[in-house]
Symmetry: C2
Subunit: 182 residues, 2 copies
């Protein structure tokens, strides 16, 4: 399980509350690891009990108080320990690919509906790519002069960008094939 590790990385990059983490997981970190706020709160609780993170109450004005988490020394050790473990092959789960193969067993009207869905899906990923590119321009304007952390964050973002471009090209191909059958 790597949610714990994703949280440790995120908190090392920037301490924050469970709520803030959930928002980061919706945005930047969600590029490579998704999680809901319930999962995050539950895991934070366990991590706090194990001494991997520490929390301080922070009063805010105009807002409810929050509990800000930081990574402790043992938490850092847990992270580096995990970093040195072998990289496991990923579990791939891609609904759309199942649907495309399934479309062979549907009728023309059903395939037409699927085409609409794929177009909608593709438009969503076009938006996502645009957001990544905007984020890249904003956060990494100067490719040469940056810290280790920034350069590693940048290469991960470039991975997200490459993935989205690949996906958009592939979806174009899928639409061509699906339209041949309608």
């Amino acid at each position: 399980m790597a949610l714990e590790h994703a949280i440790l990385v995120s908190l090392l990059e920037q301490p924050g509350s469970g709520y803030e983490l959930a928002r980061r997981f919706e945005r930047s970190i969600g590029r490579f690891w998704t999680a809901t706020h319930q999962q995050i709160y539950r895991v934070l609780k366990r991590m706090e009990a194990e001494g991997w993170v520490t929390a301080v109450d922070v009063e805010q004005d105009g807002r409810p108080d929050k509990r800000e988490f930081s990574v402790s020394a043992p938490g850092r050790d847990v992270l580096t320990g995990w970093l040195h473990e072998p990289v496991q092959p990923e579990a791939v789960r891609h609904d759309l690919a199942v649907k495309v193969r399934g479309a062979a067993f549907d009728d023309a009207a059903g395939r037409a509906a699927l085409i609409g869905e794929v177009e909608r899906y593709r438009a969503g990923h076009e938006e996502l790519l645009a957001r990544y590119l905007a984020g890249e321009k904003r956060d990494f304007p100067d490719p040469g002069a940056s810290t280790t952390g920034e350069r590693l964050q940048h290469v991960v973002l470039r991975g997200g960008i490459a993935y989205e471009r690949m996906l958009l090209d592939w979806l174009t191909e899928v639409l061509i094939e699906l339209r041949k059958e309608s």
Copy 2:
């Protein structure tokens, strides 16, 4: 949940036993949906109870008997019903991206170890790409003249190929960045 649907697609393409399905999930279908034999048997049992698939005992010589599953009419309806539902955004979970960002909080020796892991991981995906390309050559030698099912299977395979190529390029970039820090 789409494991049920992946199984329905696979059984429509070719009826088979739980064991055979598990082997297909290791190979072709595992490109876009992974599952272990335990999961598959459990889900098959439930699907049989709900009448989505039917089983016949098949005697084999030189081997234990097997139970071969086929999709029933209700099962087909379940599949087409699912095909017409909106495509959900995928849950992305990529260990390696977490590790790359985490490498900023490791020391030089740790990053050196990670480089070795990434190289090993990359070599695995090079092999996988080679297998996909060999499979493409074997199964889809003639791009023009094929059935709907074959063309849709081919476009999904091309997606796998595009993904692996993108991944290999990205891993090259990751290795360059990690080596800058060692």
